[in-house]
Symmetry: C2
Subunit: 173 residues, 2 copies
DNA sequence: GAGCTGAGTTGCATTTTGCAACCTGCATCC
DNA sequence: GGATGCAGGTTGCAAAATGCAACTCAGCTC
């Protein structure tokens, strides 16, 4: 083991979870594999053809995603040659990050009309833009945001409630 | 120029903006640099010390970010040795993607309490979780989502209005 | 049991990353 | 106004990751 390529989370683990996320998803193909998985791709050969990725790299990335608990690997019972890769709950929860990135690319890239598009099952309307929201769900822009150290956070009144409907709030200790 | 490392957006440009986004931000250090920039870091030496990144890589990444219009490079008037790197509007709008990633890392990593934390200027309360929302802003989980090809989208009644307050909606043509 | 198929591995060339040392234009100090 | 120092890079070289093509190998199929 060389000392090159020190995991980012060892260098920054104390104060930010971003390096940790990047350790799992920060590589060139990881998001593309994730996208294919979200699109219903489950098998090695499917990923390989869909992405035109080198087989050894694909193999390596799938293993890493499995190691990180983002995908689950299962040898299929009815044909034991086949291996099924499936997103775990942890993997599925990368969707907001992936969509945010894709929407950004869509907005700032040369007007790419991405297909397929995610729609609400209920009304078949495309989803809205992923945004930053205040604790009460009101969308806020970067101008209305400041960084605060955890130690100087307000004691929090009743304002905090209801933020953890979908996911633990950022400030959950 | 070898043929290795074909840009992802040339292979996938037609149907998805994700590769395009990854072309700009998909490298190991890009998000870390972005994070530092959001934290108020502006100068080469600051980035270098904050991130412990190799100087040549930092130089290369900053150039790429500038090329992609994510950061602006400006030689400072009062001391022409100094160069100031600043996030552009395009760069600032990567915040949702970055926060989504960070929140994911926070939730699934070993309980890392990230610091500093983003708070709403108004009430100094930490921001909520970044989520996928329906066209009307109602948060939805991955179970309530399906992929649709752009061609099979509903003709859209009045439901569509108001989604583009903050950013162009996914389905804007 | 010959051949096929899905899921990888191996060998080798190219590219990227990392580190340390060097360079270079500005500013400052005496 | 020459020495000194500093911000922001570049260069050379070693180690690692990536890409490609060819190969393996278990499990099916006939």
């Amino acid at each position: 083991m060389g000392k090159l390529r020190e995991p980012l989370n060892l260098l920054y683990g104390d104060n930010c979870a971003l390096p940790l996320a990047l350790e799992a998803m920060g590589e060139r193909w990881s998001f593309m594999i994730l996208r294919a998985a979200f699109n219903g791709v489950h098998h090695f050969e499917e990923f390989q053809q869909e992405l035109s990725i080198a087989r050894n790299i694909l193999s390596n990335r799938l293993s890493k995603l499995v190691d990180h608990g983002i995908m689950a690997r299962e040898v299929m019972a009815e044909d034991r040659r086949k291996v099924r890769y499936e997103l775990t709950e942890k993997g599925l929860e990368l969707l907001p990050a992936m969509i945010a990135l894709r929407q950004w690319g869509e907005k700032w890239g040369a007007g790419v009309p991405s297909t397929p598009v995610l729609v609400d099952v209920r009304d078949e309307q495309p989803i809205g833009a992923v945004t930053i929201t205040a604790h009460d769900g009101r969308p806020i822009g970067h101008k209305e945001l400041v960084w605060k150290h955890r130690s100087e956070l307000q004691p929090l009144g009743q304002a905090r409630a209801r933020t953890d409907e979908r996911m633990a709030p950022v400030a959950a200790e």
